[in-house]
């Protein structure tokens, strides 16, 4: 069993609820092992806080294997921390050094209000999907899975877009808090597959309209979203969404 000997200084955003203002609090965590995940380091800190009679830090997390998209920490100025293609829960302390000071903030966007500490409300994403991120096929209506061949290349591209975990790092990274990468991933997935064709135009129009209603900023193509995306969703998807949206606007 490894034994930790790193000491980490943390500056963590504390905010009681959405109605109160918050501030950065400083904590010291001792005995951190490099095999710990970043969230396990927070577990240690929280145990420490409980033993001191202080309220532990609230943060979102669930699967801890990088797929549910629940974890959402803005670590040292980058969503999900310093590594590329990695969620906060998969980030391990071997990426830090003894004595490091780490600043941890919640995702910040008008569309993602803070609920408590590092926890934000991302239900805007659900509403965007509800506005068109689906194929309208009722259960029982399906034909045989092999009846429409899907070229491997298209299937692979659709899969790469579908790999989005909806964590919101794209919004957090974007200077405009734009949700274009998220929306474009879903629109692309379904635009690339034959199954998505029937609602292709409506989907692009409705999802963009919902995205705008939620208060996300617009895309200025800085590329920060794709650079920080833990699933490395490509900017090509945003171009495709632009194309889909404009095409639908002009012809529908």
């Amino acid at each position: 069993m490894s034994h930790g000997n790193m000491t980490i200084n943390l500056k963590v955003w504390r905010q009681k609820n959405s109605r109160t203002a918050g501030n950065l609090e400083t904590y010291e965590v001792k005995g951190v092992s490099e095999d710990m995940s970043f969230l396990e380091m927070f577990d240690v800190l929280n145990e420490q806080l409980v033993s001191e009679g202080k309220e532990p830090i609230a943060f979102d997390h669930d699967c801890r294997e990088g797929i549910c998209g629940m974890c959402s920490m803005y670590i040292n100025g980058r969503p999900h921390g310093p590594l590329q293609g990695v969620t906060t829960c998969q980030l391990h302390m071997r990426s830090f050094k003894d004595g490091d000071t780490i600043v941890v903030e919640p995702w910040r966007a008008t569309a993602f209000p803070v609920i408590k500490d590092l926890v934000v409300d991302r239900s805007a994403f659900d509403r965007i999907i509800a506005s068109g991120g689906f194929v309208s096929v009722n259960t029982g209506n399906a034909q045989d899975g092999n009846s429409i061949p899907v070229p491997k290349n298209e299937a692979d591209k659709a899969f790469s877009a579908a790999a989005c975990i909806g964590c919101g790092a794209c919004v957090a990274a974007c200077k405009n808090a734009s949700a274009m990468l998220f929306v474009s991933a879903k629109v692309s997935q379904l635009a690339l597959l034959p199954q998505g064709q029937a609602e292709r135009q409506d989907r692009a129009l409705n999802m963009v309209a919902q995205m705008d209603t939620e208060g996300f900023g617009s895309c200025t193509n800085t590329g920060a979203c794709a650079a920080e995306c833990p699933k490395e969703i490509s900017l090509e998807n945003i171009a495709r969404l632009n194309r889909e949206y404009l095409g639908a606007s002009l012809t529908k």
Partner: protein, 661 residues
Amino acid sequence: MSDKLISKTPEGPLSEKWTKYRSTVPLVNPANKRNLEIIVVGTGLAGASAAATLAEMGYAVKAFCFQDSPRRAHSIAAQGGINAAKNYQNDGDSTYRLFYDTIKGGDYRARESNVHRLAENSANIIDQCVAQGVPFARDYGGMLKNRSFGGTQVKRTFYAAGQTGQQLLLGAYSALERQVGLGNVKMYSRHEMLEVVMIDGKARGIIARNLVTGETERHFGHAVLLCTGGYGNVFYLSTNAMGSNVTAIWKAHRQGAFFGNPCFTQIHPTCIPVSGDHQSKLTLMSESLRNDGRIWVPKKKDDPRAANDIPEDERDYYLERRYPAFGNLVPRDIASRAAKERCDAGYGVGATKQAVYLDFRSNLINKYGRAEASKLGIENPTIEQLVALGKEVVKEEYGNLFDMYKQITGEDPYEVPMRIYPAVHYTMGGLWVDYNLMTTIPGLYALGEANFSDHGANRLGASALMQGLSDGYFVIPYTIGAYLSGEIKTKSIPTDHPAFVEAEKSVKDRINKLLSIKGTQSPESFHKRLGKIMWEKCGMARNEKGLKEAISEIQALKKEFWSDVRILGDADGFNPELDKAGRVADFIELGELMCVDALSRNESCGGHFREEYQEDGGEAKRDDENFMFVSAWEFKGESQWELNKEPLVYENIKIAQRNYK
């Protein structure tokens, strides 16, 4: 058979039961459906697919999940794939074969009729998911690809890289969100179900707590569906998500729903080993890796050499040695026990010696490297060339898993073998349900991992996704009619009904009690201690002495919990500590029942391995004469349960010792 357990299995030949029943089950006319409200708790594969389908049919659905979005349910983490008897590979697969493999894989402890229905539905699931835009892997001709999984000799597993669960769940989630958008489903995220409301012996609603505001809410439903997943987190360390819990089905159990086979736990053979006391969860490396990875340990005890320095003839490929017919693809329980056996015997590897190697090098070079080389027309390729070519293929198949492994361990599995060890993964046990998926409480259903029904004592890989979606898309939409057709005259019951008031009060009282203890230990620390007891005494191997000790230790832990737990914060807002405390309290009670169940089952079968009952070679020794039944436990009061037995009748399968040799 206990008269409390009526399985309602339809009459007739096995292969016709479902088709016939489906066409004769009473219907609810469209006008009435709108007035019937259904509560769905949990939004994983089973919950999301059920909620979406029921809403499509016209029922008024309310769906609940404790996560911030229904898309986060832990089904999303399933990696390897989903089985279906499509026989696209022309390798002799059929509905019967899938049925047979599943019954055999479950060590003959599952209900025939349910499993056959599952196999029948499997093909429809693939079609439905493809139609939703799930991007399954395709070959160059555009056709669906398959791979092999444990416990089978055909290729019937459909997949989307190492993220199949994610893609299937997002498909079901999108169907659900479509219904939310249409106003047919009302979605309650960050809500936790804390009680089933019973009126006149029927389930009529739930009490849920809004985890953001802390308020308790009353919700009426003509029927309540629990799709809340498994309870592997009773072991503290498992591959489950941090939030996965037993609370919903435990509340139902305490209200009268029988708990089926609680001790049947699946220990998955290929997980990343524990690295330290700080560990909060274990990460699975998909079973699909056993397609291409070979499992071995050194032939020499405590061999200090690095894996790559150990020559071929000094490696013990123990699965291939012991089970030549299935080799590395034996079912999970067998692979797990074999790994434990080697480690216990002193052949384990890595710093903790609690690990075995899962090695890709040979397939990387010989299977993929050579195939690519011949495709590209490279004659006499060098080893380096083969490694590079093989890497590309492996990357496409399992890239995300390899990256994940590297991230967690700091080692590159393309270069050195993975170190793996078994870990708690899935619970075959769950609420007892009849053929309609209804629990022993009328109007209360359990779907997916939350019920006990399809996997017997061991689940085969790529079958959990199949079961969740079968239950949600293709079973409950039909079978619920059997109950709701009799409820069309029941008007919505106002939630100021005394039963709601009382249920809410009991929920609030419990929360206040938890907060008022003001002890010294965190909920987390109790959870860790419970997990340690469970893993050591009710884990991969169990014995009478250990189980008896475990029961008394858990009872003591329960007492200590209720007198010394410390929960900071209050009940009027977002408070994860409070949520956690409630879940741990339920896990403690469940842990006791699991030990009671394990103690009562004096045989070894599937994931349940009693050390007293084994063959000479260490294989599990089933006792079909005395234990061919489902244990359905009835809650009778604190630490008191009554055992009811549902005998298992095999009319279509010849019972045999499982043989993978």
